[in-house]
């Protein structure tokens, strides 16, 4: 019998469940390795070579190399682990959060200061909120894509 996963219809959201965790095990453990300064140095010196030491899929490696966190999450990454890539790059968590929306960090910060992203239209897939697939990317990336 199929498992009950009622969270699959929440827009712009990937729940890190046992299935995602299984898919992302090596990707997330690679991220964990960046907790050690020596590993950060080796990664920064040659990212591709460092990634090739891990039994990750090519899709996971490309996600890391392009710093596309949404792509990493789709491939089984978890944000608390992925955050260690940002820390290695010297980026703030807010920068990383913004990068997943398409907004610049300034745009994202302004949204948070104005009370954060509204829940309206963002509860179920098929509504019309700003986190819905039809409205991606948001912010500056959206303007650029439209230009």
């Amino acid at each position: 019998m199929a498992l009950d996963k009622p969270y699959l219809d929440v827009p712009g959201t990937t729940i890190f469940d046992a299935e995602q965790s299984r898919k992302g095990y090596h990707l997330n453990q690679f991220c964990m390795s960046l907790m050690k300064a020596a590993n950060r140095e080796r990664f920064k010196a040659d990212e591709r070579a460092y990634l090739d030491e891990w039994p990750m899929t090519e899709e996971q490696k490309q996600g890391v190399l392009t710093r596309d966190l949404n792509r990493c999450i789709a491939a089984g990454g978890n944000i608390y682990f992925l955050a260690k890539i940002g820390a290695t790059d010297g980026k703030s968590f807010q920068y990383m959060a913004a990068s997943m929306t398409g907004m610049t960090q300034e745009e994202y910060m302004a949204m948070m200061l104005a009370g954060g992203r509204s829940i309206e239209g963002n509860r179920y897939l098929g509504e019309d909120g700003d986190a819905q697939p039809q409205h991606q990317p948001q912010g500056a990336a959206h303007k650029k894509a439209g230009a």
Binding site: Y7, V10, P11, T14, F16, S21, N70, A97, M112
Partner: protein, 285 residues
């Protein structure tokens, strides 16, 4: 006999720790948040317990994906603040209470909650930020702390109901300890936040405040909140709120005692990506 005298609930946003450590608490961005904790620091000075039982979650720091315990109790004599990638926070070492922790583990496991016993563990911002918010920047934390880590990173996380019932078992365990200790239980994490994907930055002020109302006055209803409500309404990381139910379940009114006194309530948006909630409840027994 030991007893639980109060419960404290607070978010544990890492950026709050950084603001304290870097001396930014009086900057316009942070000032309103820290003002909301001034009464709490005063209360903490006047009501310093003998032990804090601190419920929090590890954020891919002590636990990687190698092992994912649902409930882990720290039984060590001390716990070192972790290096989370930016260097360890400049905060005091956390002194444990191995005797009480071992007693609670024994009692709670016999009550059918399968705790993982941890004798060596670094503690991350989930544990140290609440201590900083409540105690400021002392040379040493004012009392021993028992870290209690809950898995809220990989789904399924424990249900609110199970956390609430675990709180009851913890209260029973504390009350069967022979020494006359004053114990506080803290529940941390939340409130609404989502740190991932195109819905990152979600804040649901109305839901948060309705949930706080329930937590205080109708905790059974708060405990009945299903996982999907947290995910949908409070964001994928808002599910950390189940940890508050462990602390709430440990209060005397859950077991037929008098209702607690609401000593302080505070809510603020934003701290970085997150809505900050904070409550102090005192037991009246």
């Amino acid at each position: 006999m030991a007893r639980i005298t109060a419960s404290v609930y607070t978010s544990h946003v890492p950026a709050i720790g950084a603001a304290i450590d870097l001396g930014k608490t009086q900057e316009p961005y942070w000032q309103p948040l820290f003002k909301g904790y001034e009464p709490s620091k005063q209360w903490m000075k006047e009501n310093t317990p003998d032990v804090i039982f601190l419920v929090y979650n590890d954020h891919a720091t002590a636990f990687s994906l190698e092992m994912i315990p649902t409930f882990a109790i720290g039984c060590a004599a001390e716990f070192t603040p972790a290096d989370e990638g930016w260097g360890p926070r400049p905060v005091p070492k956390v002194i444990g209470h191995p005797e009480l922790a071992a007693h609670i583990a024994q009692s709670v496991i016999q009550d059918d909650f399968d705790l993982t016993i941890v004798n060596r563990m670094d503690v991350d911002h989930g544990l140290t930020v609440p201590l900083s918010l409540m105690c400021g920047q002392p040379e040493a934390w004012p009392c021993p702390v028992i870290p209690f880590a809950v898995n809220v990173v990989q789904y399924p996380v424990p249900s609110g109901r199970r956390c609430f019932n675990l709180g009851k078992a913890i209260r029973k365990a504390v009350e069967s300890y022979d020494r006359p200790l004053n114990v506080q239980i803290w529940g941390t994490g939340g409130m609404t936040h989502q740190l991932q994907g195109p819905r990152a930055g979600l804040i649901n002020r109305e839901w948060d405040n309705a949930w706080l109302d329930q937590l205080i006055a109708d905790p059974e209803a708060a405990a009945a909140t299903p996982h999907i409500d947290y995910v949908r309404e409070a964001g994928s990381e808002g599910i950390e709120l189940v940890m508050w139910l462990i602390a709430r379940g440990a209060m005397a009114d859950i077991d037929g005692g008098p209702a607690p006194t609401l000593r302080h309530r505070f809510y603020h948006v934003p701290a970085s990506n997150t809505a900050v909630g904070h409550v102090i409840l005192e037991n009246n027994v």
